[in-house]
């Protein structure tokens, strides 16, 4: 793939972690623009995690906003003992957990079918472009603890060590969750594909 190589190169040449800490410090000293830079640097990755975790785009956007608000509020508690991104992604995952719990409560009250695939954005052009519905649907079949590990390791490409820090679990547990998550995902995909081979008109 050639597209995007320039951007990737730019990113590679930058010490992102050090830059993050500097921006956070500037923000804590009152420079609001510094936080905007931080958001810009990480918003897509945060959004990627949220979207994979939650599927629904609007819900993911809410989670992204909630994540950064939390970081706003708790910025002074970050002590740079881990990469800022690790902390940020941990907040992200926790926010997604929270939002999913709330959504589950709401759906339980309002709808009998928790995993109803229909949503108001199913026809969204962006969804068609960006997401693979089959994969997303199968991913939603993966229990949240396994899904978060698969999302971070396999979709976001994070190292096992960082994923362990983000999820606050041992590396061995990360591996196990990734293994089991992939397995469930693959089984779901198999079921979905088998199901799709039974069109009504046959």
């Amino acid at each position: 793939m050639t597209r995007g190589s320039h951007r990737a190169r730019i990113t590679t040449m930058t010490n992102r972690a050090a830059e993050d800490v500097e921006l956070l410090n500037r923000y804590l000293e009152g420079d609001v623009a510094a936080f905007d830079e931080l958001v810009r640097a990480h918003e897509d990755r945060v959004f990627g995690i949220c979207l994979r975790m939650m599927r629904d785009r609007e819900a993911a956007l809410d989670a992204v906003q909630e994540t950064f608000i939390t970081v706003f509020r708790k910025a002074d508690r970050y002590e740079a003992k881990s990469a800022f991104s690790t902390w940020l992604y941990r907040v992200t995952v926790n926010t997604c957990y929270d939002q999913l719990r709330k959504a589950k409560r709401r759906r339980t009250e309002a709808m009998p079918e928790l995993s109803d695939p229909a949503d108001p954005h199913s026809g969204d052009e962006l969804r068609a472009v960006e997401l693979r519905p089959e994969i997303e649907k199968a991913l939603q079949k993966v229990p949240i603890d396994f899904r978060s590990a698969v999302v971070l390791v396999d979709l976001q490409g994070l190292a096992l060590e960082q994923t362990a820090q983000i999820l606050d679990i041992p590396i061995g547990t990360v591996k196990s969750r990734v293994f089991r998550g992939r397995k469930i995902l693959a089984e779901s995909l198999g079921n979905l594909r088998a199901g799709s081979r039974h069109p009504r008109d046959e």
Partner: protein
């Protein structure tokens, strides 16, 4: 002991092709004697194959703009500003995008030989904004993908239960001033026949600081090796501007024949042509669009009033 009972790791490593040849052969032989292991391996490979194909996802320009605006409101405790007739840029990435793009203008036309110092490894990683949709995803890379991860244990948990409460009271911050230094006289013109006076009305934003200008040049790894006339650029198949505009038209519903003003091309530090800046002075739902194309693709900066 059966393999699947004790060594998921080996199956994962085999599926991920992380074993050397000897280890892989041994593991494969062992797995072949274990039906459940074989199935697990097959499932791991299937999952990996589909996950590997999953495209990156990203915020669209509008979503990003909304995010920044809402965060700004959270941060400052202010309500949204009333709509103004004067074109302004949405807070956030678009400011940087526009400033950066305008900076490229200035670099190309005005102060190229004197300002640019080449690429800088310590430059900020903030990238100019890209629009979402059909042709932005592959070229957007996330900064964190290449960062160094410190091995220490996390300090705080990051529970988000109280995320949206008592926020305003906890933050007392004011906005940092945006760039405000005018860097070139509006009456100046260049070899291309365009001057700042021609350019600025198109982008509606004329105050670019030296700092921002230098930053965008650094970020795009530009050097002033090549500035060509727009007529030549218009004919350049390498940049495929029509294709970019066609996608733009498809994405945002603007006529593909909207007037476009090509500006110039700059060489990267590797000597390869890297960037064409084109401005589309079209109004789409009160949104001004700026198009940046380069050989590997194109990006759209959306300036929301």
């Amino acid at each position: 002991m059966k393999m699947h009972e004790h060594d998921q790791e080996i199956i994962m490593a085999l599926a991920e092709e992380n074993l050397d040849e000897v280890a892989a052969t041994a593991a494969q032989a062992e797995i072949e004697g274990c039906a459940e292991c074989s199935r697990d391996l097959e499932l791991q490979r299937l999952a990996l194959s589909v996950l590997d194909e999953a495209p990156d996802v990203y915020l669209t320009a509008t979503e990003s703009s909304r995010l920044h605006e809402s965060l700004k409101r959270e941060l400052t405790g202010l309500r949204p500003a009333p709509t103004s007739n004067k074109p302004t840029v949405a807070w956030g990435r678009w400011v940087s995008a526009l400033a950066g793009t305008a900076a490229v203008f200035l670099v190309v036309f005005m102060v190229l030989p004197n300002v640019i110092g080449g690429s800088d490894d310590s430059s900020p990683a903030t990238t100019a904004a890209a629009d979402g949709g059909a042709f932005g995803d592959e070229e957007r890379s996330t900064a964190a993908a290449t960062e160094t991860i410190a091995p220490e244990i996390l300090e705080m948990g990051g529970s988000a239960d109280d995320a949206a409460t008592d926020y305003q009271a906890s933050i007392e911050a004011s906005e940092a001033p945006m760039a405000s230094t005018t860097t070139a006289a509006a009456s100046e013109t260049t070899a291309s026949g365009l001057g700042l006076a021609d350019v600025l009305p198109l982008i509606g934003y004329g105050n670019i600081s030296e700092e921002i200008r230098a930053e965008i040049v650094d970020q795009l790894l530009l050097s002033p090796d090549d500035v060509r006339l727009r007529d030549e650029l218009a004919k350049s198949a390498a940049f495929d501007l029509p294709a970019c505009l066609a996608e733009l038209a498809l994405e945002l519903g603007i006529p593909s024949e909207s007037e476009t003003i090509l500006v110039g091309v700059l060489a990267g530090d590797d000597g390869a042509e890297r960037l064409v800046v084109a401005f589309v002075p079209a109004e789409v739902n009160d949104t001004t669009l700026v198009v940046v194309t380069y050989p590997a693709g194109c990006e759209i900066f959306q300036l929301v009033p």
